[in-house]
Point group: C2
Chain length 301, copies 2
């Protein structure tokens, strides 16, 4: 199995939706994505927490075979906290507060064992930190990068620089429109491919996801969920399952990528069914395979 490194936030999330709420629940991009990846491979994570971070959270990740030796624990520091809510339509998270805590001064240093990674997922953090992590990895076979509107607005130059170094750029549709200054996703994708990546994946929430490569295009549907309790972490679960599948299989071609996007969609759809990590914690491989088959059936014509 190829080695997979994921860098991103470990967080304590306070979330309210029309279906309930949680306070200081385990969250963060590295958490959701590594948990999702762990169904397919054994990821190693890089991040930082304060000493207010419950030990049981790290144990939970370790029990899934996730290597947490790259998670720094800052004594006297506070763990990154996000608080937000979703309204009735569940489409968009509204942020109440963000407290970077120990992430404000984070300077990632990778354990030696991480530096030979084949697969890297640079989850949504400061593009300068993404670059620091990427530059410590000797010869990655495939690097995937996610970002968000905050970095597009505040660190555009640094973001474009790190995009130029990765194989796959992952964005949601509004971010793609914003970064490439066009409402047309086909034009946005063409502009992204010019920056260097071989592929761009555009996430469209409940409308699925698009993959653009040079000269080809793939459209992944979303799964029609009757009950969405909490969409927090769906984008990260999608990315984690996607790169986890690729790392588990050792693949990086267009064909593998298409299958990886469906596995990503499957795990993300489960993630939305309950708060925080709750649904993934009870998720099984047979459930994943069954829903993967349903994704085949809903698009056959």
């Amino acid at each position: 199995m190829a080695r997979l490194v994921i860098v991103g936030s470990l967080a304590l999330d306070t979330v309210k939706t029309p279906f309930g709420e949680v306070k200081d629940a385990l969250g963060g991009a590295a958490t959701f994505s590594s948990y999702a990846a762990s169904f397919f491979s054994r990821p190693s994570i890089v991040g930082v927490v304060g000493n207010d971070f419950p030990q049981q959270h790290l144990r939970l990740l370790q029990q899934r075979g996730i290597d947490v030796s790259g998670v720094a624990i800052e004594k006297g520091g506070k763990t990154f906290r996000w608080s937000g809510y979703y309204e009735y339509d569940m489409n968009e998270a509204k942020t109440v507060s963000t407290d970077l805590g120990v992430f404000a001064s984070f300077s990632p240093r990778l354990p030696d064992g991480y530096k030979a990674a084949d697969y890297v997922f640079l989850a949504n953090i400061d593009p300068e930190l993404q670059m620091q992590v990427l530059s410590q990895i000797k010869k990655p076979k495939l690097a995937l990068l996610d970002t968000m509107n905050y970095w597009i607005n505040n660190k555009r130059r640094q973001l474009l620089e790190v995009i130029g170094k990765v194989d796959i750029l992952l964005l949601n549709d509004s971010e793609a429109r914003q970064l490439f200054e066009t409402p047309n996703l086909v034009k946005a994708a063409a502009a992204a491919l010019k920056l260097g990546p071989k592929h761009i994946i555009i996430k469209k929430g409940e409308h699925g996801a698009l993959l653009f490569s040079n000269g080809s295009h793939f459209s992944a549907p979303s799964y029609p969920l009757e009950t969405i309790r909490d969409p927090t972490g769906c984008g990260d679960s999608f990315a984690g399952a996607l790169i986890g599948y690729l790392a588990g299989k050792g693949g990086s071609g267009e064909k593998d990528l298409r299958k990886a996007m469906i596995y990503g969609s499957v795990v993300a759809s489960f993630n939305a069914e309950d708060f925080g990590l709750e649904r993934m914690k009870r998720l099984t491989m047979p459930e994943i395979e069954k829903r993967y088959e349903e994704f085949e059936s809903i698009r056959k014509f």
Copy 2:
């Protein structure tokens, strides 16, 4: 070939988009849908125009094999006119003015030859007129109904009544959410199926379309267009090609319906490439078949 009857508006459209404008161009739901259907079958249309309606417009439809004997010409009346524009993102038509003209007092009477129709498309008009048309058709094999937010707001009772009489309900996503008072499309579809139709198709514009039947679900992707010049009539082209394909083939099952939705998506994607009917006027069957194959390739995994 099974007989197909379409009822809906014939209009003169004044449209402005970031890519140009047209004044008093041939438009209307019956026009776009019958033209799209004519690639697959020979539709007959029901509608009304004023004597300001250029004769050449009816000749254009006749040249496509469309039977226009059900189009009444009201002497001294004015043809239905719609004026609108699209902004940069091309997602939603903004209406400047609507002048119903002869449609305000229209009472459709079908020529005898129409009454034995097997396939009926009740395009977006007053649900009371839709009911009048449907009740004049002896034994339709398949009836498809489209509507819009205006009728949901103003003739809800009559709309629900005619929905109960058709086989397939066609709506866009915001209309489905509005009519069934839920943000969740799966729940909206379940509510629609309870009213009587065997299928509900939810159009999502650039995100494709969904088909819900009892116990099954199909997700049709959209075609990634780099140039969209005028989206007017795309929903009607989709519906017209869909029912035209079914009528041409004599089909009505789930499998035929899935293929019909792809043909609908193909023709609608071409329609957006130019103003009014311009793109459809130069469209050929080999182009349609080629893009149909592309739809297969963009969803293979």
